[in-house]
Structures are given as structure tokens and as C-alpha cells.
Subunit: 98 residues, 2 copies
């Protein structure tokens, strides 16, 4: 999360398929709950059913999902639900798609 400066990361299963995301907000809530996180596994913490979009969907749809859920980035997955990218509102606006 820190190295890529995204404020979030994906959690995948053994086959590389997305099972959840973990965000800075999750870390904050964990901190408030008094959990140092030392022995907790990523899969236990990740937000299940994270917002995602398939790579062949339109960018306009990605923006629609972001607005619906009031989030600013989305995981892009391939046909087997493996993360291939992260798309941010900034990326969409910069491309002048909307």
C-alpha cells in the first residue's frame, strides 16, 4: 500500500483470484478496535465482495460504479477474476472520457 501509494491493496487466493481489498480505512478501523494486526491474516481483514470491474468494460461504467458507491478507485480484473489493474477517478477524468 505504501510503496505504490494507492492507499489500498488487493487480497487474492492461491489461484490469484480477487477475494477482497484492504484499504487505509480498514487499517484505521482495525487500529480503533485495538487490533495491532500482528497475527491476523490478510484474508481475515479484507473487505469481501470488493467493488471491481472487468477489463473489457467501458471506463464510463467504472465511473458509474465509483459514483454509486462513493469510492475513488476500482480493481480491474480479467475474466478469471484476477486483478490486472487499479483504475482511479483521476485516470478516467484525465482520459476525457466523461
Amino acid at each position: 500500500m505504501t510503496r505504490k501509494n494507492f492507499g489500498m491493496t488487493t487480497v487474492v487466493d492461491g489461484a490469484g483470484r480477487l477475494v477482497g481489498v484492504f484499504t487505509d480505512g480498514d487499517l484505521r478501523r482495525l487500529h480503533l478496535a485495538g487490533e495491532p494486526g500482528g497475527e491476523v491474516r490478510a484474508s481475515q481483514l479484507a473487505t469481501r465482495a470488493p467493488k471491481l470491474i472487468e477489463a473489457n468494460e467501458l471506463a464510463a461504467k467504472a465511473l458509474d460504479v465509483m459514483e454509486t458507491f462513493q469510492i475513488t478507485s476500482l480493481v480491474v480484473v480479467d475474466g478469471e477474476r484476477r486483478p490486472v489493474a487499479l483504475i482511479r477517478m483521476h485516470d478516467i477524468l484525465r482520459a476525457k472520457i466523461v
Copy 2:
């Protein structure tokens, strides 16, 4: 930060003027540095020179600042640099200003 669900908060001086912001990302970096934060004051942690905009500026300018700095929200201040609101990319897009 948790109650308002913004992932950030402002830090003000005794006169209510903005001196910095503190974000989920700052909390994460603090955590990585091994600082539990128990005895640290907000003013020591806050990002100085936070990105802000005056209330009478155009929303389009707010979006421009967000794109320039690759951030998704901005503190709105009055003429005396007191925070009056937070503006998010979502707010601007919803208003169909851009």
C-alpha cells in the same frame, strides 16, 4: 475521521485556522514507523501546507487542484483560512460542472 467517513480530518490552531490535515495514509505511515501515536499531538502529525481552496473559488478550480496533486478531496476555507467544508471529486462530478 471514522464518524464522518472522510478518511481525513483537519487540524486547526486556537483561532480555528487550518494548519494541516491528517489522513488515513498518514496514519498508515505512522503505524509503519512504529509510532502508536498515544502521546503525539495532532499538530505534530498533520501534513503542513495542506491543499485547500477558498469558498468563493470555482468548483472547476477545485477539480484542477485535485488533478494536479492527484488527490480526491480538498479542504474549503473561508477568508480567514478557517475550514468550512470538504469538497470531494464526487461532489464536483455530481454537480455536472465538468
